[in-house]
Amino acid sequence: LFGKKTEGDTFFEELEDILIEGDLGALSAMEITDALREAVRAARVKDREGTLALLKDLLGEHLSTMDTVPDSERLNFFLILGVNGVGKTTTAAKLAAYYRKHHAMEAVLSAADTFRAAAIDQLLLHGTRLGIRVIHQQPGSDPGAVIFDTLESVKAKGGDIIIADTAGRMHNRSDLVRELQKIDKVVRSRLGEGLYKKLLVIDATTGQNGIRQAEIFHEAIGVDGIILAKYDSDAKGGILFSISRTLHIPLAFIGTGESYDDLKPFEKEAFLSSLLS
């Protein structure tokens, strides 16, 4: 980046910059750029298009997508988790709307953030606007109890997919990670035959700390998929690449705004094109 320049070097330097600015991280950006240099030489690629195609392959190699098609035979349970303010509650509402619209499912929301001021009110409002049932208790109640209630409600009144919102929690707060593990335990012990997915929401504007978040939550309860929120902020979400590469967690959805429609299944090609645009 700051070293001597040669003719061919400029392209790779600018590329490294683009990857860094996209939040891939310095070390990842350097590794990818070096690997690309090697791949270009090995494949004797001479033009820009060929180089970018090789780059997309290199980057895409580590990105996998999660199957977002729900189970039509069993109860589906999505647990939404992540650090504070990343977009969990909004994403939970969007997911409920999505599964109703695209998979004709009856969605039920579970207000398992019993901690933050007006968190339950926030989800209740989403439920009212969408016409989707929200199971909740008093603020301060046990999140596990709300989850339990939700499962009971679905048993009694029906429902195809439960989307459970949880409180924002810093991954370096071991007490909060333990609480999450307790919630996970409640789901695993009570869901029975259902399909259970734990989805970590990552804010697209997050830097390298996103990797730490994913590492710790994955280690604590096992993350089944990642939802990238706030992709409309024009941040590139490059940390997804590192998360995917080191932890092999697939990418589930991408959030592109504050409306209920602003959520779609993760598309690898579109993401890569935008990262390199």
């Binding site: 980046l1 700051f2 996209g22 991280g25 303010g85 926030q122 409002l125 810093m170 370096n172 707060r173």
Partner: protein, 292 residues
């Protein structure tokens, strides 16, 4: 750790007359990687390195007993001086008039919580703060501020069915009438690239003429901290930054980006979700964290 890396690089230098280009290159690389991995923006890293690297060639480092350690100190000191600012405190007017504080920033950055925290802090300092719930967009935002205000013992002004601008203006009028001396406006989270919303916050600033327009920024923000800060500063004018969620283990390089690009002081850091978890910003603390 960066100190060890510098020590390794300069190990061969000690006692020689000049530092080799290879030493300089390695040093530059180490700083660059450390800062980028800490989320400092790449343009800010470049500027920082270019200004600092000359000292690596300098007399002091060459003659030092432990050049690596000395160079670390040079980098650290430079960072502390960059991050620091004499205008660290809130610049509020006297108790006989109304001072307005406008909170702004991206979605989810911590504005509502920080607004309440500020209210609690100012109340402790003997001021009479009023929180104004001017976010009418986010579901239950007004409720959230009302709850936090009540928990912190700070009054909250709220109004149904108007525009954010109207609530802000009426909140100010209410403060004047009821003899509050500080009004803290909570606003909707918005993208710096959202033309309409940026126009709205600019209009709100014009209407309430704040003595403090604070950008609330998440400590875990990546490279885009620069673009975000620039846009808010150009459209509205920032007087200071609150770096929220500093209790995470994010290295917080966004702080250096924000300060470096806007030149505006970081006034507070948020260190948790509780209302007393707002601390004064100390550059030393962030510098050692960014340098890891």
């Amino acid at each position: 750790r960066i100190t060890e890396k510098f020590t390794d690089i300069f190990r061969q230098v000690s006692g020689k007359a000049v530092i080799s280009e290879k030493n300089i290159e390695d040093t530059v690389n180490e700083i660059k990687v450390a800062l980028l991995e800490a989320d400092v923006n790449v343009r800010v890293v470049r500027r920082f390195v270019n200004h600092t690297i000359e000292e690596a060639r300098g007399e002091k480092v060459l003659k030092a007993v432990n050049p690596g350690q000395l160079f670390t100190k040079i980098v650290y000191d430079r960072m502390v001086s960059l991050l620091g600012d004499e205008r660290q405190d809130l610049d509020l007017k006297g108790p006989d008039t109304v001072s307005c504080i406008l909170m702004m920033g991206l979605q989810g950055s911590g504005k509502t919580t920080s607004a309440a925290k500020l209210g609690v802090r100012l109340k402790k300092e003997g001021r009479k703060p009023l929180l104004v719930a001017a976010d009418l967009v986010r579901p239950a935002a007004v409720e959230q501020l009302a709850i936090l205000g009540s928990q912190g013992g700070v009054d909250v002004y709220r109004e149904e069915g108007s525009s954010a601008l109207t609530v802000a203006k009426n909140g100010y009028k209410h403060a004047k009438k009821q003899l509050y001396d500080t009004v803290i406006f909570d606003t909707t989270g918005r993208l710096h690239i959202d033309e309409e919303m940026m126009a709205e916050i600019a209009a709100m600033a014009k209407a309430v003429d704040p003595v403090e327009a604070l950008l609330v920024a998440d400590a875990m923000t990546g490279q885009h901290a620069v673009d975000i800060a620039k846009e808010f500063d150009e459209r509205v004018g920032i007087t200071g930054v609150i770096l929220s969620k500093f209790d995470s283990d994010a290295r917080g390089g966004a702080a250096l980006s924000l300060k470096s690009i806007t030149g505006k002081p970081i006034k507070f850091i948020g260190t948790g979700e509780k209302l007393d978890q707002l601390e004064v910003f100390y550059p030393e603390r962030i510098a050692s964290r960014i340098l890891g």
